[in-house]
Amino acid sequence: MLNFLLRILRSVLVLLGVGCLIFALIRLAPGDPVTLLAGPTADIQTVEALRIQLGLDQPMGVQLLKFLSNALRGDLGESLVHRRPVLDLILYALPQTVYLSICALFTALLVSVPAGLVSALRPSSAADRLAEGVVLAAQSVPVFWVSILLIQLFAVRLGWLPSSGNDQWAAVILPAFALSILQWPLLTKTVRTAAISVGSQDYAKTALAKGLSSKRIVFIHLLRNMLVPIVTIIGLQTGAMLSGSVVTEAVFAWPGIGTLAMASLLARDYPTVQGIVLFSAAIVVTISIVADALSLIIDPRLRS
């Protein structure tokens, strides 16, 4: 329990660090941060009003403390484009990103669990080589490029699926598939390693010795015991998933946090970008704590 509390305290420190980093970035950039924040079209009165409104006329230390304490209370500032609190914008887009990520995760599991099992249980077989090739390819292709090809094939040529947006339920298929590609390599490797380590445990040998079929051993005994590493790795991958969704969502115009981030970035809406970065970091550390807690629930041996 004490370890867990320390873990949470550490995460708060990590988030403070991220806050300082983002704060420093905007202040280190060449030019006046207020002119940057106000955008290129603002006149002098607006800029000066914004400077006072943002408290940027105050000393740097005061500004940093204010920024951090506001962020801790959930106040991420106001968007320059939408003139609404950044947190509102994020919370509005969040469900779409969560939905897309979950769909992508399931797609990734559909690929990685069979691929990982095959390469662990039948090493050097044709199926293993195929799985390895697919994983190496997935690790090497640019996802935004695959997305374009997918749109070209399934939306333009064949007309089976919508190319962008989320008006129809089928619109999630292409972006979820594209986003899942990023997860294949690590997830497959995790499944493989887990299957090998679990498969060499005594109980697996016992099951084999008493005559259970390999199939039964895999599905009844192995998969369940492989859950811990898989859950852990999914937790660790949240950050990569969020990073990947920026690009994927933007290509498919999926109305989630990624598209919001990209649009804000290209519109030079720094408060929104800064808010999204902080929010993403908060999600990443929270999920990694939750994944740890889940591991403790799944495997009671880890509790001691």
Partner: protein, 291 residues
């Protein structure tokens, strides 16, 4: 080099087929990119509006072939892909090298000395790994400008924690080994131990990660270019070629296909190198299960 060394790790590296193929691929690609300006059949910036959006294999006015067709300004797509290799390769190799060097140094220091310095560096690593790489990278590029060295700097600064984490774990393991203790008793200085024992122990895995990061950087650099946040035109890069191709998806499939394949080829070679080296460094991880 003694004969025994060839039978050891180095020999296994040389005899590994994946490493061999991957190295050959990477060397060829790097040479082609370096000589791209003289290898390109056409000037990659030369516009020719009479020959806009010609499909691969079309012939120009002087009878020379546009091997991979032409783009919306009648520029030769093949020449642009050749010359467009330079920016992604320079960015990826420099950033992987710099990131690995910085990460190795910081990670080894944290892992060897431990204590408060290890906690501090650990916290820094966690903080950096929890931020979305692409988003922060793009934000820095927007703030500081999309020049070549800014992009290298961004990739380096955002990737050192990945190297540091691996180096730290390896250094921690190595520091407990008896040969380190023996070296200490024999009067070895800290610098000597770090250089002679700890860094060599951490190096193989850092190189594996560097190859994986190299692939990731090639892909990321093109993503930056695709969204207009890479080295700006007229300098062709795979990212900005792909970005341009997006408006011509329906008329000119060849503009979007080949640069993507080029990116995938380099990333594939780097990943193949990493997987081959991983086989050598950690043979246990590549063996299969008992049933």
């Amino acid at each position: 080099m003694s004969a025994s060394a060839f039978n050891g790790v180095l020999g296994r590296v040389i005899r590994n087929r994946r490493i061999l193929i991957a190295t050959a691929l990477l060397v060829i690609i790097a040479c082609v990119a370096l000589a791209s300006k003289s290898l390109a059949p056409f000037d990659p910036l030369q516009q020719n509006l009479r020959f806009r959006l010609m499909p691969p294999g079309s012939l120009g006015a002087d009878g020379r072939m546009f091997l991979l067709g032409t783009d919306q300004f009648g520029r030769d797509a093949f020449s642009r892909i050749l010359v467009g290799a330079r920016v992604p390769l320079i960015v990826s190799f420099s950033a992987a090298l710099l990131g690995a060097a910085i990460g190795l140094l910081i990670g080894v220091i944290a892992g060897y000395f431990q204590g408060w310095i290890d906690s501090l560096i650990g916290l820094l690593i966690d903080a950096q790994l929890s931020i979305p790489f692409v988003l922060v990278g793009m934000m820095v590029v927007v703030l500081f400008g999309p020049s070549l060295h800014n992009i290298v700097l961004v990739f380096t600064l955002l990737s050192w924690p990945i190297f540091a984490r691996i180096a730290r774990d390896e250094a921690r393991l190595a520091a407990r080994q008896q040969f380190v203790e023996a070296s200490l008793i024999g009067g070895g200085t800290t610098t000597w131990i770090l250089l002679r024992h700890i860094i060599p122990a951490a190096l193989p895995r850092v190189i594996v990660v560097a190859a994986i990061q190299l692939a990731y950087f090639v892909v990321s650099e093109s993503a930056f270019g695709f969204f207009g946040l890479g080295v700006p035109p007229p300098e062709p890069t795979w990212g900005n070629i792909l970005s341009d191709s997006r408006s011509y998806l329906f008329q000119a499939w060849w503009l979007g296909l080949f640069p993507g394949l080029a990116i995938a080829l380099i990333a594939f070679a780097a990943n193949l190198f990493a997987s081959g080296l991983n086989e050598v460094v950690d043979p246990a991880s590549t063996r299969g299960s008992t049933f």
